[in-house]
């Protein structure tokens, strides 16, 4: 999901992705959000020219595309790292020490919460509940969840992804 398959490639490729995705949804009502999700999963984030093209293809004003993209937390307007480390800060994880997990992951990677490492490999993010609350505290990288963590284990998992 978080793979930035087209990172670094040129804008024309990105627009070609939009055209391809939009043609799949042609004629489907209420398709704006699925188009945004699909495009983002292919190119990692939603740069301005991509949102403009989506607007053209879906027949809605660019302002509305931007409005929707900025409303939902799933959509990213900035590029993200190859791996997004989602640290759960839901109720159960909060009670079980999610703060210390974020601190450990951030200090391991040398970034603040919400930032991306200089090599573009990792982005650290706080999320609200991954749904594995009884294994709190939990982190999720790509589609893999890791539960019952200690700060040290969280560091180790992140380190393994780095290799």
């Amino acid at each position: 999901m978080e793979k930035t398959a087209l990172r670094g490639e040129d804008a024309a490729d990105r627009l070609a992705v939009v055209d391809e995705v939009a043609s799949k949804y042609a004629g489907t009502k209420g398709a704006l959000i699925p188009i945004l999700q699909n495009v983002q999963s292919r190119i990692g984030y939603l740069p301005t020219e991509v949102m403009e093209r989506i607007g053209e293809k879906a027949g809605v004003p660019a302002a509305q595309v931007f409005g929707v993209a900025s409303f939902y937390s799933q959509f990213r307007l900035e590029p993200v790292g190859r791996y997004v480390v989602k640290v759960c800060h839901g109720t159960a994880c909060h009670v079980q020490g999610a703060g210390a997990i974020t601190e450990a992951v951030c200090s391991e990677l040398g970034v603040e919460d919400g930032e991306t490492t200089a090599d573009g490999k990792f982005t650290v993010e706080s999320v609200a509940c991954i749904g594995c609350c009884s294994l709190a505290p939990v982190i999720m990288i790509e589609e893999n969840s890791f539960g019952r963590l200690t700060p040290d284990e969280a560091r180790r998992i992140v380190r393994e992804y780095g290799d």
Binding site: I33, T91, A92, G131, C132, C133, S134, E143
Partner: protein, 595 residues
């Protein structure tokens, strides 16, 4: 289900929580070991059985010997289970958590449960429609569309007393009847699988463990109200649920349980999945429908209710995942059987997600009316580590904290509401003496403030002001009058917000103020956090009597704040200390103090 002739069956629980605990590796190890020995064993997957605390879970069923359940299994342990139990016929007793006829610790987790919604969870392979059908699946749909009139279906649901499990507890039959009575033409049915309450995972487990049960319930609802198009709105964070639901819909369409002319009855239904995009407010029904339409998920004023004007302005019925998961059971077994569980006004069962400071965290389904104490202590095994139970949070950001004094209340809609909390969707987060109630209130306000859609001023600005006050109090800067200010803001936000998000956002503050006012006062007046949780109000120190000078803490400290030579008393430089707690966790002699 397991006894297929003489073949042994090994079942591995592959739900999100099982996988997070390492179940995929365990599955692979079984494949390898069974293959290596050329054993005739059926290896299969299942969903969440509810014992999340014991994941990964493996069941071994041998014809005649019943079901043996192993808990906390790692890939390394698989070889021995295969050798001794599967090949040798002798269960590995010390790893068993449950077995028929034996009094093992996990028996208590089950014996008090009544599993109607979770009837198949952890029993069948959620990716196999055949296993669902074998367990009685789609018989209720057939019964409804071939032998009952829509109004008879509605009456059955009304008579069962089923109330919405998404939080508000509105009678489901009444809701269906409103939608049914709308003039004909296009109508929709919608499943609310947004499960936004952080700390709750009932809907995820149901969708991962038994997706067909929800789909069947949805199809019955569609028939009852006269809809021919349905949507599942599923939270973005639930990829496995989306995948299994997708398989279920494809298989059901192929077999003709949805699609054109179901069971030759003339009833037709198309079903689609919409993935959410990360907005808590989209769990609110009118916002959810705006989101399906591709717009920003902002709630609108009701009425009109969705039954009259819903998705694309057409009459629509929206229910929660668990609500739908009850439907097929009620149609098959009858309203009376359902209503025989529960209390006068809260019928049937409720699924709860137990988490936080609890011994056996997981998913449980109990009859309505069981006391909180029974759920937490008897089913959940109580608070671990010798700590004291302090409160239980019900209803998430819209709910409240119920203190120890009320632990003997019955869990039903009315009794819970009387405490100031709400039943909510079923998240139960248990808290002990190390949990600071002011910090919990701050946590929830941070959440609602962040998730407020910004449409109405009281919610948008009011929650921000409340959060500022709470942050100040937790940060040791609380002022005289802050507590009263919180109360005043809370009242106004509750009275004036547009939707349920704002109207309930102050609840976590209101209930903690009501039951734990002394904790607020300690923070504000004495600059003290009684639970030792608020970092600005605590200091780390080293107990000279207990410190042996082992230097372990000096090594784990990430900021180099601890000094001391071997066999000498260590000391903490308060300017460098970030209160990360690493030293206290590392110390083997309990010598790190927190005041």
């Amino acid at each position: 289900m397991a006894d297929r002739g003489t073949q042994m069956t090994v079942t591995v629980g592959l739900s999100s929580c099982g996988i997070a605990a390492g179940a995929a590796d365990v599955m692979a190890a079984f494949e390898r070991e069974i293959e290596k020995r050329g054993l005739d064993v059926r290896l299969r997957r299942t969903g969440c059985i509810g014992m999340c605390y014991s994941e990964p879970i493996v069941d071994v069923d041998a014809p005649g010997a019943g079901r043996h359940t192993y808990g906390g299994i790692t890939a390394d342990q698989v070889e021995r289970i295969v050798d001794e139990h599967i090949a040798g016929g002798a269960p590995v007793d010390e790893w068993l958590v449950r077995a028929e006829g034996r009094d093992l610790p996990d028996e208590a987790y089950y014996s008090r449960q009544v599993r109607l919604v979770l009837r198949n969870a952890g029993m069948i392979d959620p990716e196999s429609i055949d296993e669902y059908i074998e367990a009685g699946g789609y018989a209720a749909l057939e019964k409804a569309v071939t032998s009952m009139k829509p109004e008879e279906v509605v009456k059955e649901i009304t008579d069962s007393g089923l109330r919405g499990r998404g939080g508000a507890g509105f009678p489901t039959g009444v809701k269906w009847d409103l939608a049914r009575k709308q003039p004909g033409g296009k109508k929709y049915v919608i499943v609310n699988a947004d499960e936004g309450d952080p700390g709750a995972f009932m809907d995820r487990s149901i969708l991962e463990g038994d997706p067909h049960s929800v789909l069947e319930g949805l199809a019955i609802a569609a028939y009852a109200i006269g809809a021919d198009e349905g949507y599942f709105y599923v939270r973005a964070e639930y990829p496995l649920a989306v995948k299994r639901l997708g398989i279920a819909i494809t298989d059901a369409r192929e077999r003709g349980y949805i699609g054109e002319n179901v069971f030759g009855s003339g009833f037709s239904l198309d079903v689609y999945i919409k993935e959410g995009a990360g907005a808590f407010v989209c769990g609110e029904e009118t916002a959810l429908m705006a989101s399906i339409e591709g717009r920003r998920g902002m709630p609108r004023i009701r009425p009109p209710y969705p039954a009259a004007e819903g998705l694309w302005k057409k009459p629509s019925n929206i229910n929660n995942v668990e609500t739908y998961a009850n439907v097929a059971w009620i149609i098959s077994n009858g309203a009376e059987a359902y209503a025989s569980h529960g209390t006068e006004t809260s019928k049937g069962t409720k699924v709860f997600a137990l988490a936080g400071k609890i011994e056996r965290g997981g998913l449980v389904e109990v009859p309505m009316g069981m006391t909180l104490r029974e759920v937490i202590d008897e089913v959940g095994g109580g608070v671990p580590g010798g700590h004291d139970f302090k409160a239980v949070q019900l209803g998430g950001p819209s709910g409240g904290c119920i203190p120890r004094e009320f632990i003997d209340i019955a869990v039903d809609y009315e009794s819970v509401t009387k405490t100031g909390a709400i039943m909510g969707s079923g998240g139960m987060v248990v808290m002990d003496d190390t949990t600071c109630m002011v910090d919990i209130a701050r946590f929830f306000l941070n959440f609602t403030q962040d998730e407020s859609c910004g449409k109405c001023t009281f919610c948008r600005v009011g929650t921000k002001r409340m959060l500022e006050v709470l942050e100040r109090i937790c940060g040791g800067e609380g002022r005289e009058g802050d507590i009263e200010l919180l109360e005043e803001l809370g009242e106004q936000i509750i009275a004036s917000s547009l939707c349920g998000l704002g109207q309930s956002a102050p609840n976590p503050v209101v209930t903690t103020l009501k039951y734990f006012r002394d904790e607020y006062e300690a923070h504000v007046k004495e600059k003290r956090c009684p639970a030792h949780a608020c970092k600005a109000l605590i200091t780390y120190g080293i107990d000279a009597e207990k410190c042996t000078g082992c230097t372990l803490c000096t090594k784990v400290c990430p900021t180099g704040a601890i000094a001391g030579e071997k066999r000498e008393l260590h000391t903490i430089d308060q300017d460098l200390c970030t209160k990360c707690d690493a030293c206290r966790r590392a110390c083997k002699f309990d010598a790190v103090t927190v005041d």
